[in-house]
Amino acid sequence: MDTSEIASDAKPETVVVPMSKPLLQRLVPYLLIAPTLILVFTFTIWPVTQTIQASMHEPGRATRDDAGRRVPGEPTFVGVDNYTALFDSTHFLGRRFPRVLTNTIFFTTATVVVGLPLALGFALLINRPMRGLGLWRFGFFYTVLLPLIGAANIWAFMFANTTGVINTVLGAFGISGQDWLGNPQLVIFSLVLVNIWKQTGFFMIFYLAALQNTPRDIYEAAELDGGGYFTTLYYLTLPLLRRTSLFLVIVSSTYAFQTVEQLEALNRGQPADRGNLLLYFIFQNLGSSSNMGYVNAMTVILIGLLLVFTVSNFIVFEGRSEDE
């Protein structure tokens, strides 16, 4: 049947032009998003814009006029000089920054690559009926409840070179202890260990919730088809957990980039920046007005890294999701 005929034979409908909505009604959507917009602008867009602008300036030095009044210095535009200085090995920050950047990327990657599979493993382990289930779940989760600075202090006590628990236990077995936070080759691994210990329970809860929301009938069907545990895990569970994993990769990497407290309590970035991370390094260089151009440049790099990390994860995970 030719539908165009019906269309041409049909009586033309009267087009009713709606009267313009009252002003208030038209404004409602804007009013509703206004608080969020104001907050996002005030606490995100405006500071980021200011930071980017300051990263391209050299701060001016304040002086005093004849009456003794303080006259703030005028910043000078320097383009990308503050950025290039950070990678110039003859510059006082350029000698250190690349190492700190490498540490941060390693720390973040290690936390994600080791921490998330561990969290998934724990979730799979306790997502089944077993004796003392509540105790197991609490055992895996309690590290999340500890304040970060408190947890770091516990580890400072564990890692202590001469009086620490780990070296004392090792010594009891005749094994010589290690300088966990003072050895340049070991320190970054010690920091990764503490971070994984602290965060894994938190990530586990998300995996556990996702596992408990997966439909049972799919698993029953897989069982009927003769799928073994690992086959089911690989072909069913992991794809079903993809969205959760995307969320956790972004959250865990963001947390890793933001690590400050545990460095303050454990090693303060030492020795020789082998145990230093980007945000803590920025914090360490705050104490001078003259440094603010570099500090802002480092902050922009940190924000950029986080953006790249987040967007690339979206592309990888979402792209694979659409393929299937």
Binding site: G68, R70, R95, T163, G287
Partner: protein, 440 residues
Amino acid sequence: MRYIVRLIALGIVAALLAVVPATMSQDDDVVINFYWASAVEGDLPGIFADYAAQFEAENPGVTINPVYTGTYTQTRDTILAEGDSPLVDVAIMLATDMYTFIDDSYIIPLNSFIDEMEDGEAWFDDFFPAFWANSIDPAGNVWSVSFQRSTPIMFYNADLFAEEGIEVPTNNEELIAAAQALHTSDRDGLQIPVAGNFPIWMFQSFANAYGAPLTDGDPTQVTFNAPETLEALEFLTRIGMSVEDGGFGVGPMGGSAWGETPSAFVAGQAAMIYHTIGSLTNILQSADFEVGLSFLPSGPAGEDGTGYGSPTGGGNLYIFDDGSKSEAELQAAWDWVVFLSSAEIQSDWGAATGYIASRISSWEIEPLLSLTEEFPQYAVARDQLDFAYEEFTAYRSVEIQNIINFELSNVISGSVSLDEAASVLENAQAQIDGLLEEFN
């Protein structure tokens, strides 16, 4: 709608109630915002509240508003973050921050206040001269007044020394000999806390003792590449290196951590340690052996024991003014500085915290007088001041200290070998000279 109008009206009234008393107190009183930082524990807010009450009773019309601003670093960052006209009037800041605040015109010189004092000269002379070194610029301007000062000192396990029949070392050779004699598989002979992010303080004592102070009164000059500096660094690094690797084998490789060092000492896991005098009270309370204190052993500089190299440390009182403060406000700020640095308060503060009281006369009055009679160890740091050097300070102090701390950590931790140490110091010197170029 009526409800919303009522709510807004209530909010306005509440805001007025909050603002009006503050405005009234501003009309009546001069309010001094006093930012304080400290590196020791105790009921310090309570003590400052008492001091403020005492001062306010003696100075009607002045209100002291003590604000705890965290560590020295946090206090400095807070003031810088407050922008061009910070709220602070008086602050306790590191003695080493002087040129940072001079350079950005935050603080004011105090000479005119001292000149107007009836007994200004006697007042000035009653402070230990070593402490003034970090307060006065080469032109003679006084920028700060000592409040809570410290110095590194050597703590030793006196019982162990008596058991082994070893004399307390007075120079570096004796120090290593004693450390090697007392070093066992479960006890370090000597721990020096240079593993943290602040090795520069302890290192200064070696650089000074080797005859190459990092700074010498001129804030535009810093020396980090002298042959003596390298010798001092090699000596300090070898303390933690094994004998097989050419070290003395008497302490942890890379030095000990700051907070761990007193714990290791009181636990009997270190026979001798270098630490701040501020740790004395805690160590005396925790150790179950007799705690001995001595000057840091001397190095090759000078002769007959004159190569002592201990720097001073701790915090001074600064007055902040962007030029907008009234004479009454500045006078009240100065009066508060004079009050806090009085012999009575210094005696009390020193006894309460373990900091070295800055006034000579404060050691002759209570409570410090009784304390030093009961624990003569407190007086050792005071007596060491006769040989003390200024603490590191220069223009671009924060950046230069970061450079020096980083390179010291590189060498001491073994990240860079001793063979490469000379070039590391040269590179660092080039960076430092670059930063100071604009001041020369």
